[in-house]
């Protein structure tokens, strides 16, 4: 899409853009960025060598990285949608990622019908429920606070997240749950042989679902009136109002859309990792980092950022002590905030003020 880099989320461009004095300005930081990433990959590969990793191990790490990266992408897109339409970094996104699977599991316990149907139905209903919850939250909180500063609204989303996670703890307890694998409808997943690797069948579901969702999203924004109207709000809020577009409704809708993206991501990931009440925190934060790596206003950027983050993080996890795994994302966060806030795909220099 040609939209990224040209205009910012809301008309208040100056307000939410950073006046960062990039260390590597002038030369076009994209060249440096690519070089830096390449160096990082080499470093990680090198360290892996020392641990005796061979090609197969690397491929495995790559696959793992792309798997989690696809989920990060869905989460990240949720951040981008809300940010572009409302200018708010929506911390509740993590809650959506958790609610999807948890609701699906709860629903799965009861309805009638065959395995496949039950699972699909439960998933769909869970996603819709999450969307409704998301839109309600928006109406009750952010919509009422729309006159407040962006930062205040961000803190509001943080508060909402904490509350929702707290409620999840009360409702579902701290234990991990199980969502059946999509292929076997059972606890254990089928393993697929690809090259020398053993890949979980769920991984393909993740990639497939992510790709499908992205395609639908692109179609929505490119072809439908509502999609175009939402883009219009993101590009130029005042002009959108002058077209008669109800920008506040678009904001709520954006929230709902983000909730759908998050919930889908959570559901499709859950068979591979046991969903718990607090899974949203980590996924939400990392999805956010991916969005930042994509520039926060770019859809393709978010996807690229997510995949890169997933892979690099996976490589990193392969060579460090397990506890240090999470540090990678946050270090990336700070680096990108400081050095390249416009993300991977921004055309040139800084985005306009």
């Amino acid at each position: 899409m040609s939209e990224q880099g040209l205009q910012t989320a809301t008309g208040e461009a100056a307000g939410d853009r950073i006046r960062a004095r990039s260390v590597v300005r002038g030369l076009g930081s994209s060249a440096w960025l690519v070089a830096a990433i390449a160096l990082l990959v080499l470093f990680l590969l090198g360290m892996g060598r020392r641990l005796g990793y061979g090609a197969v191990d690397y491929l495995q790490l790559l696959v793992d990285g792309l798997q989690i990266g696809a989920v990060y992408a869905l989460v990240a897109l949720g951040f981008v949608v809300v940010y572009r339409v409302t200018g708010v970094i929506n911390f509740t996104q993590g809650a959506f990622v958790m609610l999807g699977p948890m609701l699906a599991i709860t629903l799965l316990a009861r309805p009638p019908g065959g395995s496949a149907l039950r699972l699909v139905l439960a998933a769909v209903v869970a996603v819709l429920l999450t969307a409704v919850i998301g839109m309600t939250i928006h109406r009750l909180t952010l919509h009422l606070a729309r006159k407040a500063s962006a930062l205040t609204r961000i803190i509001i989303t943080v508060g909402v997240y904490i509350s929702v996670q707290g409620i999840a703890l009360i409702v579902w307890g701290p234990r991990p749950y199980v969502l059946p694998a999509f292929t076997t409808f059972g606890m254990t997943d089928r393993l697929v042989h690809v090259g020398g690797l053993l890949v979980q069948a769920q991984t393909f579901w993740i990639w497939g679902t992510a790709a499908f969702t992205l395609a639908l999203l692109a179609l929505f924004f490119e072809r439908t009136v509502v999609g175009k109207a939402m883009r219009a709000c993101a590009v130029n809020r005042v002009a959108a109002q002058l077209m008669g577009i109800r920008v506040d409704r678009m904001a709520t809708l954006a929230f709902g859309l983000a909730a759908v993206l998050g919930a889908v991501g959570g559901i499709v990931l859950s068979p591979a990792t046991r969903p718990t009440y607090d899974m949203g925190l980590e996924l939400g934060l990392k999805g956010f980092v991916a969005a930042i790596m994509g520039g926060l206003v770019s859809f393709p950027g978010a996807v690229v950022g997510a995949l890169v983050l997933g892979v690099l993080e996976s490589l990193w996890a392969g060579i460090t002590l397990s506890g240090f795994k999470d540090i990678f994302a946050f270090v990336m966060l700070i680096i990108f905030l400081l050095v390249r806030p416009q993300g991977f795909l921004a055309g040139k220099g800084e985005v306009g003020h």
Binding site: I89, L151, F330
Partner: protein
Amino acid sequence: MRGLSSDIRALVAAGALVLLLGGFEMVRPGGISLSHLSGGLVTIDLLIRAGIFTIILVGLNLLMGYAGQVSLGQAAFYGMGAFFSAILTVKASVLGIPAVVAKAWWWPWLVMGGAAVLVGGFSFVVGWVILRLREHYLAMATLGLGVIVYIVLRENLGMPQLNLTGGFDGIVGIPRLRVGALAMWPEARYYFLVWGLALLTIALGLNVVRSPVGRALRAIHGSEAAAESVGVVVPLLKAQIFALSAALASLAGSLYAHFQAAVVPDTFGFVPSLELVVMSAIGGMASIWGAPFGALAVLVLQEVLRTRVLGLVPVVSGEMEPVVFGALLVLIMMFWPSGLVSSYWGRMAARGGGDGPAAGGAPSQQGL
């Protein structure tokens, strides 16, 4: 100066209250303690913790409320101070510090001061770099920073063989503070120590607010460009305030370590950072006196939730906390972004007393 004398009066009043409560607890007339009077809610333990948080919050309020810079990772500095004190007293031998020094009465005090200076210096450098970020990007950066510090502490600084931070379980056996032969214990004595320092911190905060520095801070909050044009060296001042808030948090952390005699990394993670923001918000971000108020309000509320709610709702006591605090944060940000105390004190300030809220309260309060 009107402001100064009212500050002094307020400090004296606060000091008197501190003495009164502490004295009451020490004497326990008729065997009644504060705990009895408050139905088990207010204990000396809680008051000590409130004092510790007050020290952090004064710094945080100066940073967020006055200078308008957000920190979602303040607990990291709190933790750094706590672990510094813990490591250098308990694990001193691992670091090669002679027992003679490590067991001396003045050592923990030196460590406390040194930690504050080091943390302050470290955060000055960090602040210099990240404070150029605006609003939500700064918030994210501080969040990231906080999580990174937390992970490092939790993972034993990456050197499990040295076991400096004790990993997930942290460090135990931290000695009590003493001055010469006089131990700062039992609790009542520690209470006076902590609140003495807290009051000093409040005085410091008030002093900053009243001084040209305070004006410069408010100017930065309003508009950095405007502040620069009147000669404020913005990046320097921001970094200085950041460093001050970090140093204060570190100091509080050290006090906490010697109070609990044990430290665990979980006390200093992302959620505690948010709790600090909630405390700041309740008390009023742009108010120095909001610090003790916010700390007390939140701690008492926590007690209420832990003890009273049990009967009402069929949940495990601790579980209501995040729900309530999350909701509280949301409500405060929606309706009273300048904090509950500020609104009240603002009215008092209008009559020429109190420190009053700075422009706008929550950082960068601007309409859309």
